[in-house]
């Protein structure tokens, strides 16, 4: 059983988002390099666990992006993925979510034989959270989103727990599936030292547009999403009030009264 984990290189969580003259910048005061999209770490971890606990033969990390995305793939390899592939072509630059889903689907088809594809819940840079669903649609597979646990896997089906706004739901679907995972699913491991060394030696293959049979339009020209007007939402202004009281119980009582007053509870 092959597993494909789709990942993206993103700014780190400490980066500060700003826009100047319509150009987005992610300055990082901590000077941290770009990282694997934090949500994807859960996806990578789950992929590796499928190998460790459910006999997956290969766990392949897949990324679409520039050469720099190899860093994210190296992290995936250092954590324990068995292989990594970068899809990179100028023709793909500026793809919108649907265009990207077409590329994901084509790459997954080229890998062949995959039974489970895993995405993180969303990426922290564009925050759309649609990649798993759209890719499933393009592949014609079942999407299972917001997965918080993989309960069981048989030769032809998978049972997962999904974390929804109003509770949890256990569902079974025939394989192959595309799943997106939430952070409740696991605790991602750090890259291991041995993994780091192997990852830095690994030759990561780069697939170009010509290597894939992408079905439908990709790249900026085919993008239906218009990025012509980008602006930052003004920060929310609030005020902080320290609650004084002789005991914790008294402070809590004052807090509860206030929350009632403000109709929060």
């Amino acid at each position: 059983m092959k597993v494909v984990v789709c990942t993206k290189q993103t700014p780190s969580t400490t980066a500060v988002f700003s826009i100047k003259n319509g150009i987005v910048s992610w300055d990082d005061p901590g000077g941290k390099p770009n990282v694997v999209n934090p949500w994807d770490e859960y996806a990578i971890e789950e992929g590796i666990r499928l190998k460790e606990n459910h006999g997956a033969s290969d766990v392949i990390a897949l990324a679409i992006g520039g050469e720099e995305s190899k860093e994210a793939l190296k992290t995936a390899l250092a954590m324990g993925c068995t292989g990594a592939i970068l899809v990179s072509d100028d023709a793909f630059a500026g793809s919108d979510a649907v265009g990207s889903a077409r590329i994901w689907a084509a790459a997954i088809n080229k890998i062949g034989d995959a039974k489970i594809v895993i995405f993180g819940k969303l990426t922290i840079d564009d925050n759309m959270g649609v990649a798993a669903m759209m890719t499933a649609r393009k592949l014609g597979w079942t999407p299972l989103t917001f997965v918080s646990a993989i309960k069981s896997i048989s030769a032809d089906s998978i049972t997962v727990e999904r974390l929804l706004d109003d509770g949890k739901e256990t569902v079974t679907a025939p394989l192959p599936v595309v799943i997106s995972v939430v952070k409740e699913i696991n605790e991602p491991r750090y890259p291991s030292f041995m993994g780091i060394r192997k990852a830095n030696r690994a030759e990561i293959p780069v697939w170009k547009a010509a290597d894939l049979s992408v079905n439908g339009g990709t790249g900026a020209a085919a993008s239906k999403v218009d990025w012509s007007h980008i602006f930052a939402i003004p920060p929310r202004v609030g005020s902080v009030e320290m609650i004084e009281g002789d005991s914790i119980a008294e402070q809590v009582k004052i807090l509860v009264d206030k929350l009632f007053e403000e109709k929060v509870i």
């Binding site: 190296k74 250092a78 750090y190 030292f193 041995m194 780091i196 060394r197 830095n200």
Partner: protein
């Protein structure tokens, strides 16, 4: 050829350690420091992640990285808390690397392999209640008795005293002489007659274990003798070349921690309607901290590079240790100054940095001892002679080969 670049491997290893300390140690370090206890998860996690064997060859249970990576790892550890780096100084620098350098193949299998895997923790027992800087005056004795030695003595100020399984113990096999009578032994904590305890009320490294270890008529197999009889002083000094390297790298991390905290605070704190970072007197402090950091880092990386090359680095390591520890104290002191009264309280980390920085100016050679050493080299009264066993140069093929 001069090359200041680090490899991707070295940088990724440092980043991994940074992630570990930020996620697993930083959130609770203040609490353990206040309670004067070591977080019980720290050693097992450092073992599990491979940190305790980072630069030991894979064939001896380690991770196969080079000596420079050891330095980078120590910098990241001490940027969070000095106690983590102290672990590396004694377990790796002062003990494991000593076995790598001086141990027989059989001793490497018996001691180094479990230490590098983190199954056993290792410590270094040189200092005694009556002898610190003056190593030649130690009183502990080892008397040959058939196939064993009977060891007696008391060691003081021993890091990991109550945690370690393996003590590299220095005793006199010939009590009538000075340094030439000292011999090194691996004393295991399970031997009858070995007792230990922690010291409380220390100024710093409160989230670590520092204590005493006693040997009363402890029968140690002769197979546990490291090196020859009378070679103990040389062994201790070459272990210190490695321990001091980790201290230097760690102190560099402490400078960075002080600088990072100061930079953040100086941009947030306002006086007279301006962030204090806008005042030249504050800027000067920040600029000095950066200077100290750059210098300390260059000095330890040079020593690490020399180790990789297999070059003797006693003088360079001593310089790095002296400079980095003195300036980590100054940096922490300035960081407190920038934080004003808040820096004086344990609400912020900088007071802990100051307390933690202080010990490193005393252990592994006081600053005065390092000054004497530097002057000795200058005046020609001190010279490094070749050793019977040198620290092996880093050979990636040998280090990384999986057996």
């Amino acid at each position: 050829m001069l090359d200041f670049s680090l490899t991707d491997e070295q940088q990724s290893a440092a980043l991994m350690v940074r992630q570990f300390v930020e996620q697993e140690v930083a959130p609770t370090i203040k609490e353990y420091d206040r309670r004067q206890e070591m977080n019980p998860a720290v050693l097992p996690r450092m073992a599990e992640l491979g940190i305790l064997g980072i630069n030991i060859p894979v064939r001896y249970g380690g991770q196969g990285f080079d000596y420079v990576t050891l330095g980078l790892v120590c910098e990241e550890l001490e940027r969070c808390d000095s106690t983590l780096r102290v672990v590396m100084s004694v377990h790796m620098g002062l003990n494991s690397m000593g076995v790598l350098q001086w141990g027989t193949e059989e001793q490497k299998q018996r001691f180094l392999v479990p230490q590098a895997r983190g199954e056993k923790y290792a410590a270094f027992c040189l200092t005694e209640p009556g002898a610190g800087s003056d190593v030649a005056s130690i009183r502990s004795t080892a008397k040959k008795d058939g196939d064993s030695y009977i060891i007696n003595g008391e060691k003081m100020w021993i890091s990991l005293a109550t945690k370690a399984h393996h003590f590299l113990w220095f005793a006199k096999t010939n009590p009538d002489t000075g340094s030439a009578g000292i011999t090194a032994f691996m004393v295991t904590a399970d031997l009858p007659g070995v007792t230990s305890g922690d010291i409380h009320g220390k100024l710093g490294v409160r989230a670590g274990s520092t204590g005493w270890v006693n040997c009363q008529d402890v029968r140690v197999p002769a197979a546990n003798r490291i090196g020859e009889e009378g070679e103990g002083f040389k062994i201790a000094m070459s272990c210190l070349d490695n321990g001091r390297y980790t201290v230097a790298a760690g102190a560099t991390g402490l400078i960075r921690a002080s600088l990072e905290a100061s930079l953040k605070y100086a941009q947030q704190r306002h006086t007279f309607g301006q962030p204090i970072a806008s005042y030249q007197l504050v800027q000067q402090k920040l600029a000095y901290m950066q200077q100290w950091y750059d210098n300390a880092r260059l000095l330890y990386l040079r020593a690490g590079w020399m180790k990789n090359q297999g070059l003797r680095n006693t003088r360079e390591t001593s310089m790095a240790k002296w400079y980095a520890t003195d300036h980590s104290f100054q940096a922490a002191n300035e960081a407190i100054q920038i934080h004003g009264a808040y820096g004086y309280s344990d609400e912020y980390d900088v007071e802990r940095y100051l307390r933690n920085s202080r010990g490193a100016i005393i252990y592994e050679g006081t600053s005065e001892i390092h000054q004497l050493m530097q002057a000795g080299y200058l005046l020609g009264t001190r010279q490094d002679k070749p050793l019977r066993c040198e620290l092996p140069a880093y050979d990636p093929d040998f280090w990384q080969e999986e057996m």
